[in-house]
Subunit: 147 residues, 2 copies
DNA sequence: CAGTTATTTATAATCATTCTAACATGATAT
DNA sequence: ATATCATGTTAGAATGATTATAAATAACTG
């Protein structure tokens, strides 16, 4: 059901394919991305790396994330009410569900997404590939329980 | 098909209902919102008002937009690749389609939306009300023609 | 190894948004 | 009306995430 999480090696291989150098910093950022089981921000990645790579600059984290995003290995998520950009490791077609209360982001995988986007596409004459991103806002279970 | 654009009077009435004062600045911001046939940013509103209300401060524009958003009369849209927050005047359930190339935002009204949300809701156990917002990224007709 | 290019780093700059404190305005009650 | 008080506005400063800059470093190529 859930598509497998990308492997470190495949990320690094695709960086190399694209003519980017596979530096220790980029390896570390990729490792941190994979270690974070969620939708990390640049700041979270940088903090996570402070222990093992105290010399890593924030600019390098931003640069690496930009490179990965350009290669479509990760996807940027800008969420209303959050001031940091989050990143999604999963680039398979899926929906990101975001809680309007607490900001929690979840991934939803469904095989019918394509068909439904096809209908939206027909109404808008936009070309919608599901890997381009779908964000739905709502209430997460925890927050809706509190009401 | 397309829900009617909100009227100036109804916006102001709802501000008043909520115990907010209907000041000349707030009227002007609402007028500018309605005059902009799209998804304006705070900066665009402020620029548009420079002619008629040269004393209007940017803080007032931001404050008014925040007030309208809290009352759910407009909706904030944070778009990947855009550094300004856009606002959507339409708070009826609909999909915002965003071009990944040029950032153009379109509103799509479709009865398919409910089906999409029902599906996503079942898989995520999030409570999804369609007016909470749905954003789909893709290519607008103009950009896809250029490829 | 030498030369070239990409990458990293620290730091400064940018810039949308928010905060602050003084002032103005509108509502309310005498 | 007038005084009072809460609310709104303003200019300007502060915040803070991200990006730009320029010097130093590391990786590839021949």
């Amino acid at each position: 059901m859930e598509p497998a999480k990308p492997q470190l090696n495949s990320l690094l291989a695709k960086l190399e394919e694209a003519g980017k150098r596979v530096t220790s910093q980029r390896i570390a950022v990729c490792e941190a991305l994979l270690a974070h089981n969620g939708h990390p921000t640049a700041a979270e990645i940088w903090q996570h790396l402070q222990g093992q790579h105290p010399a890593m600059s924030q600019a390098t984290v931003y640069n690496t994330l930009s490179a990965l995003e350009e290669l479509q290995l990760i996807r940027a998520l800008d969420i209303v009410g959050e001031n940091h950009t989050h990143y999604d490791l999963c680039v398979h077609p899926h929906v990101n569900v975001v809680c309007t209360r607490c900001g929690t982001i979840a991934d939803v995988h469904t095989d019918t997404l394509e068909a439904l986007l096809g209908l939206v596409s027909a109404r808008s004459s936009y070309q919608l590939a599901p890997q381009d991103g779908v964000i739905v806002y709502g209430l997460c279970p925890a927050c809706s329980a509190k009401l």
